[in-house]
Amino acid sequence: MNITKGKVRSWARLGQRATFFANAMPEIAKENDDLMVLTADLAQLSNLGRFAEQYPDKFLNVGIAEQNMIGVAAGLAMEGYTVFATTYASFIAVRDLEHVRQHLSNLNLNVKLIGTAAGVVAARSGVAHWASEDITFMRALPGMMVMSAADCVEAYEMAYYAAEHKGPVYIRLNGVPDCPAVYDENYVFEPEKLSIIKTGKDVAIIGTGLMVNEALKTADILEENGISCTVANMHTIKPIDKDGLNKLFREHRLIVTMEEHSIIGGMGSAVAEYKATLDNTPRQIFIGFPDSFTKAGTPQYIWEQFGITAPQAAERIKKELGF
């Protein structure tokens, strides 16, 4: 479908979840007979109301039973369906982990897990609703593709990609209404490739999810201080784009990874695992959640507690570079 300026604006207002489920999925359903979308009593929250009305035969609510949802998705996929299953990212990646491992990963089934409210979007709901280790768990599973959307345009593109891609995919959506737009209507989504948003010489900041926007803000601060930055969006965390990383490692003296996620096993770890196999690569700064939880509050408050805001990231980078 044709993405217009107006759509980008209205999607940003709606947020990633609504863009994905209220805009992309109904269009995908139109073209895909063997599609099923499963929710665990979060149809309204996930903006699936319109989809459920338009495509009642392609929609299934399993109730507040997230584990059963994964098994049912597996059974449907074994019978030829392309299945999208969604709930909070924390539930789908943590509570459901064994079902995901045993069924989707082990049997390589065509199920797309859409984890919503990733990071600390559900800030005031407390730790239970934060997804801070989902990337760690999901990328450890053999055959599981792991993606994380920077904005609504990317979330929209990922829905189409996942519907076509055969095999299990985990898509991490974060952002509630008023998700900052990183891309415009001309964005060309290239799966499995780092998206380079701006190019500089000194520091390469790799962001994922909402942290792509924060990385751009970090770069702005650093450039006021005369530090030239490349900003890359790692929307596909697994498989990792080795060629894209090689270029960043070659052309910069510092690598920074920024994620709204634990630094243990997340996107930064994925970068570091690859980097460790190479000689003569730059140092890396991990911007992400430390090995702790924190008190609840607004997302901004939590980001500040964890030290992942643009000003905090910029300070750490300046210090590392001796500014």
Binding site: A65, N68, G71, V72, A73, Q102
Partner: protein, 280 residues
């Protein structure tokens, strides 16, 4: 579904179960000191014989036929009963059974391989029923008339997500789904009632909306009659009262025989009991 409950058919299936028991003893012996899952294998031997010998609509020559019935083995630690049934039904040759403990063989480690009738890769308990719900739902949506059977142990009913799946089977009107429970009254650490009581299991299943049938899981005739009672009104549960380690006099009803090695002497005792008609 048409079940032949005649005496001749029961006798044929009894002979099949005896052959399977013999194969299972050979497998257990061949496993050597590593041991085999004796208890839960021998408790479901007649259930397997009735399923593969009579109930399941299968076509081993066309193993992936969309019309085939699906059997998911949830209590997966019973391959010494399952694999002999696959031999009887023509999916694999008897000679292959010895490979079930051989590194890298297609029978080791509870693999998924529908080409040889292995419709599910289990091992971690309580998970297959959700998959069965998905497959039964798919049949409804696609207008296919295959049935889905899930063989479960009683111990694994402790797992919580099973009850999520039971609820959904009723909610989604899955009259094409049948749960078969091998009620052998034992889990790893003792009796199911001592470790985590199941209480009135029939009442539990009925309260979840299952048409529930009870039978003696070692009595071929009772098993056949149970499957005759499968209803087209809601999901079905067949609770089979069984003995863990059935047919191995030294192992019957003893939790430590969940997984254990048998000696040559024990093999001979079990085999002669079987051949003398003392088992079934």
């Amino acid at each position: 579904m048409c079940i032949d409950t005649s005496a001749e058919n029961a006798s044929r299936l009894r002979d099949m179960a005896v052959r399977m028991r013999k194969m299972a003893l050979d497998m257990a012996l061949s496993a050597g000191a590593k041991g085999a899952h004796i208890g839960g294998g021998f408790s479901c031997m007649e259930i397997m014989a009735v399923l593969y010998g009579e109930v399941l609509r299968l076509d081993p020559a066309n193993p992936l036929s969309p019309q085939r019935d699906r059997l998911l083995i949830s209590k997966n630690h019973c391959t010494i009963a399952h694999f002999p049934a696959l031999v009887e039904r023509g999916y694999i040759k008897e000679e292959e059974l010895a490979s079930y403990t051989v590194n890298g063989s297609r029978l080791i480690g509870y693999p998924y391989d529908p080409e040889i009738g292995l419709e599910y890769s289990g091992g971690s308990l309580g998970m297959a029923i959700s998959v069965g719900v998905g497959q039964a739902l798919s049949a409804k949506k696609k207008g296919l008339d295959y049935r889905v059977y899930v063989l479960m142990g009683d111990g694994e009913l402790n797992e919580g997500s099973i009850w999520e799946a039971f609820m959904s089977a009723k909610q989604f009107g899955l009259d094409n789904l049948t749960v078969i429970i091998d009620r052998n009254h034992l889990c790893y650490d003792g009796t199911t009632e001592d470790v985590m009581q199941l209480g009135n299991l029939t009442a539990k299943m009925e309260s979840f909306g299952f048409n529930t049938i009870n039978c003696n899981g070692h009595d071929i005739k009772e098993l056949l009659n149970a499957f005759v009672c499968i209803s087209n009104n809601g999901p079905n549960a067949v609770i089979c009262d069984t003995v863990k380690g059935k047919g191995l006099s030294f192992a019957e009803g003893r939790p430590e025989w969940h997984q254990k090695a048998i000696t040559g002497e024990q093999y001979n005792i079990a085999l002669s009991d079987l051949m003398e008609g003392k088992v079934i």
